[in-house]
């Protein structure tokens, strides 16, 4: 059995305007030593999915209204806040996009690491200090002893992200959830942080969920990929398979919309823009949620009135569409590599 199994997760926001179906029936699993990438654009529900697993959604207005989150055979959605606190930071840890808002600006880096260690492990003050230095060293922060007494604002963006990673791995979590961990960083720093996460995952044999909007980051770091759109999974496949044979029109369009750095046509590249915008998630259409923007759908299709199921089109490759690429004979949209 997989370390983490999410089944038919539904997280809704109860607002004055109506019920927002932010996450609407999401299922996936992650094993130790494996990185699952969740990719999608703003508002697709990828972060809410992560927060739901962690029990960190703001209640109210949000509520998990259905589904299961099975962690090592335990159901997390029914745990009390107290029980969740024992899991969070210990067995499951999370890092966020902006380390400046998730680190406490009034506490030193050292204090914040030691705090986590002593919350979860039976460990003396001296031992915690020693361990904190080791951790800062492990995440590649130079001169860790002197950094221990620094406040977050003294560190650069990349170093802050490393400090946050140090806190996250301090209790040897079995699952690390990284929500846009490199989005605020420059490309050279991003590359270093992704390398670091990869190394740590291997050395700690963690399961990892990597949430990003960037297909490049997915190609770089994920083993398996979930593509989300409007609160649902629209495609799911091993990473190479997904990039070699994208099936869902949305995945194809996302790849076509990306400027290619190694495309020799340079300036003459024409990007495939996706017309329109994602649907409102208050009373979303009963139809396929991508239908209104889909270049292959026509009004007579059943996907204009019925939601397509997520089906296995090839072993391990799932797609939620009436018009997957491999069933569109001769009409295949060319996706440049």
């Amino acid at each position: 059995m997989a370390a983490l199994e999410v089944r038919d997760l539904q997280t809704h926001f109860f607002t004055r305007e109506g019920v927002v179906r932010a996450v609407d029936g999401v299922s996936f699993s992650v094993d130790r030593g494996q990185t699952l990438g969740i990719v999608g654009e703003s508002g697709c529900g990828k972060s809410v999915t992560a927060l739901s697993i962690m029990g960190l959604i703001p209640k109210p207005p949000a509520k998990i209204v259905g589904g299961e989150v099975q962690w090592e055979g335990r159901e997390l959605t029914t745990l009390s806040e107290r029980q969740l606190e024992d899991v969070r930071g210990h067995e499951i840890a999370m890092i966020f996009q902006d380390p400046m808002t998730s680190l406490n600006p009034t506490l030193t880096i050292g204090t914040q690491i030691k705090e986590t260690l002593r919350r979860h492990l039976d460990i003396s003050k001296d031992a915690a200090r020693k361990r904190a230095i080791e951790l800062l060293d492990e995440v590649g922060i130079p001169k860790p002893e002197s950094r221990l007494d620094d406040y977050p604002h003294r560190l650069s963006g990349g170093m802050r992200q490393r400090a946050m990673i140090a806190i996250a791995i301090s209790c040897n979590p079995e699952l690390l959830i990284a929500d846009e961990p490199t989005t605020a960083l420059d490309v050279t720093v991003q590359a270093q942080v992704l390398d670091l996460l990869e190394e740590l995952q291997a050395s700690h044999e963690m399961a990892m969920i990597l949430i990003t909007h960037d297909m490049g980051v997915i190609a770089e770091s994920a083993d398996d990929v979930v593509v989300m759109y409007a609160g649902q999974i629209v495609e799911q496949a091993p990473v190479q398979e997904l990039f070699d044979h994208p099936e869902h029109p949305y995945t194809e369009a996302l790849l076509g919309a990306l400027p290619q750095i190694d495309d020799a046509s340079g300036r003459n590249q024409r990007l495939t823009a996706i017309r329109g915008r994602p649907p409102d998630l208050i009373d979303p259409p009963k139809a396929c949620r991508f239908a209104a923007r889909c270049p292959h759908a026509s009004s007579g299709d059943s996907c204009a009135t019925h939601m397509p199921e997520l089906r296995e089109i090839r072993p391990g490759h799932f797609v939620r569409s009436q018009h997957p690429a491999s069933e569109r004979a001769g009409k295949r949209v060319e996706v440049t590599a």
């Binding site: 703003s42 990306l258 400027p259 340079g266």
Partner: protein, 256 residues
């Protein structure tokens, strides 16, 4: 503190010069200095032979009509209390180029040009998505029929699918109106699809400048190479090779 230090380059009529660099490299400051939104401490900025740094008052105003800017954040660069129509009309009013009736027609024409429904002129910016707002910002920049537009990270706040719409639009407008662009961005893939020539900035200096194709395929400087190798590309197979090369480069940069 020298944010920009001894930078020299030229932009040819009708071309796009891409200016790339990481945060703090001085690329936006360079853009502001060209438009005289910031006055450089020393140095010279010439626009069609006219020295801009010496211009003041009315002559500077006159010059500014021909140089416009599109900002990164379509949320903070549009006045939330002004209607879409007034935002786009503002440059026309400030430079008093037309009467009320002509203005109204011009605003509709501009919005139509950038793919924004002109029937929404009485709405406010908050009613629109990031992509639509950026169209409003572009319409405003076009209002005075400028020759040069400085695009300062025009798509970095947008989702990929919307980003593609805006990049395509900017290219179409350039063809249609013969615009010259200084295109400032941190995303090297985006700059590649937009630029004829590219200048790479680091620490307030231009480290490399040249034909876009050439800079990307044969980067001369170590810094440019490291930057290019750090960009994640959407191809898992190629990514594996790049990771190897990247680690070697980082090592040699750290050692050298």
């Amino acid at each position: 503190m020298h944010a920009v230090d001894g930078v020299s380059f030229d932009i040819l009529n009708g071309e796009t010069l891409g200016l790339v660099g990481e945060s703090g490299s001085g690329k936006s400051t360079t853009g502001y200095c060209i438009l005289q939104l910031m006055r450089p401490n020393s140095g010279s900025v010439r626009f069609e032979g006219v020295e801009l740094t010496e211009l003041k008052g009315e002559s500077l105003r006159r010059m500014r009509r021909r140089m416009q800017i599109v900002f990164q954040d379509p949320y903070s660069s549009l006045d939330p209390r002004m209607t879409v129509g007034n935002i786009v009309a503002e440059p026309l009013i400030v430079h008093s180029v037309s009467n009320r009736k002509e203005r109204r027609a011009r605003v509709r024409e501009l919005l139509d040009t950038v793919g924004f429904d002109p029937s929404f002129t009485n709405r406010y910016p908050h009613e629109f998505s990031g992509g639509q707002r950026q169209r409003i910002g572009i319409a405003r920049a076009l209002a005075l029929s400028p020759d040069l537009i400085v695009c300062d990270e025009p798509v970095s706040a947008l989702d990929v699918s919307i980003q593609a719409q805006i990049l395509n639009l900017l290219k179409d407008l350039q063809d249609q109106f013969g615009l010259t662009y200084l295109f400032i961005a941190h995303d090297l893939s985006v700059v590649r699809t937009m630029s004829d020539r590219i200048a790479v900035m680091n620490d307030g200096k231009i480290v490399e400048i040249g034909d876009a194709q050439y800079v990307y395929s044969h980067p001369r400087e170590e810094y440019t190479r490291a930057l290019l190798k750090a960009v994640p590309i959407p191809d898992p197979r190629k990514m594996k090779e790049r990771k190897q090369e990247r680690r070697q480069l980082q090592k040699s940069l750290a050692d050298g």
